[in-house]
C-alpha cells in the first residue's frame, strides 16, 4: 500500500514562528503536493513538485515555501506563521504516469494552530 506520512498530526505555534511541515512517501512517486483544507473552502493547492528540487506554485502560495531535496520528502515551510495560516495541511503524492485512475494518495494531515 502507498503510504504518505506527515510528521506531525497536531502543532501549536505562535505568530512569527518558523514552521516546518514534513511529508514522506514510500512509493517512489515523482509528484508531491501540499494542500490546505478549511471549512467552507475545500482543499486548495499551495505548492507542488514534479521532481527533486523542482517546485511550482499552486493557487495560494503566499506566505509559504517548499523544499524537495530528496524524491521521497516534501517539506512545507511557513517562514513567519500568522493566525490566518491556522488550518489542516494535507500532503499528497502520485506517480508521474498516473495510470487509469489519476488518483492522488493523501497523508493523514497536520492540523496547525497559530496563536
Amino acid at each position: 500500500d502507498v503510504k504518505v506520512t506527515q510528521s506531525s498530526r497536531y502543532l501549536v505555534k505562535r505568530t512569527g514562528e518558523k514552521v516546518f511541515l514534513e511529508c514522506v512517501q514510500d512509493m517512489d512517486h515523482e509528484n508531491m503536493f501540499w494542500y490546505r483544507q478549511d471549512p467552507g473552502l475545500g482543499l486548495r493547492l499551495i505548492y507542488f513538485s514534479y521532481d527533486v528540487k523542482m517546485k511550482e506554485k499552486g493557487d495560494i502560495p503566499e506566505g509559504y515555501s517548499v523544499s524537495r531535496e530528496k524524491k521521497e520528502r516534501f517539506s512545507l515551510i511557513l517562514e513567519s506563521a500568522s493566525t490566518n495560516q491556522t488550518s489542516m495541511y494535507l500532503c499528497a503524492s502520485s506517480p508521474r504516469w498516473t495510470g487509469p485512475t489519476g488518483e492522488l494518495f493523501f497523508g493523514e494531515g497536520s492540523r496547525l494552530t497559530v496563536l
Binding site: 475545500g42 511550482e56 487509469p100 493523501f106 492540523r111
Partner: protein
C-alpha cells in the same frame, strides 16, 4: 475559472435509506472527475475516477455517475460506517499536471 459545487452540505440518513450526493462542475474541458471519502481527522481516500459523460463506477454500496455538467454519488442501503465527508474534484484537460479543483464536500451521517 474551473469550479465545483457540492450539494447538500450535510445529509443525515437512516440506515438502509438510499440517497444521492450531487457534484456540479464547470471546467474548460474535463480530463477527469474524482470522488474521495474523508473520515474526521484523516486525509481523503480515493474512491472513483470518471472520464466521460455516461460513465458509471461502482464500489460496494456506492455508485458514481457522470453527465456533462454534474456527477452523482448514489448510496444504496447505507450503513453507519458510510458516515464520512465525500469530496468531489475535477481536473481540466489544459492542466499539465494533476491539479485538482475540489468542492467543499458533503458530510454524510448514517444513523443506525
Amino acid at each position: 475559472e474551473d469550479q465545483v459545487t457540492q450539494s447538500p452540505e450535510a445529509l443525515r440518513l437512516q440506515e438502509g435509506e438510499s440517497s444521492s450526493l450531487n457534484c456540479s462542475y464547470t471546467v474548460s474541458g474535463l480530463r477527469g472527475l474524482f470522488w474521495y471519502r474523508q473520515d474526521p481527522g484523516k486525509g481523503p481516500e480515493f474512491l472513483f475516477t470518471l472520464y466521460s459523460a455516461g460513465e458509471e463506477k461502482e464500489k460496494e454500496r456506492l455508485k458514481a455517475t457522470l453527465t456533462k455538467k454534474e456527477s452523482f454519488l448514489h448510496i444504496t442501503a447505507p450503513k453507519p460506517e458510510d458516515s464520512a465527508t465525500y469530496l468531489c474534484a475535477v481536473q481540466a484537460v489544459n492542466t499539465g499536471f494533476q491539479k485538482l479543483v475540489f468542492g467543499t464536500g458533503t458530510r454524510l451521517l448514517v444513523s443506525p
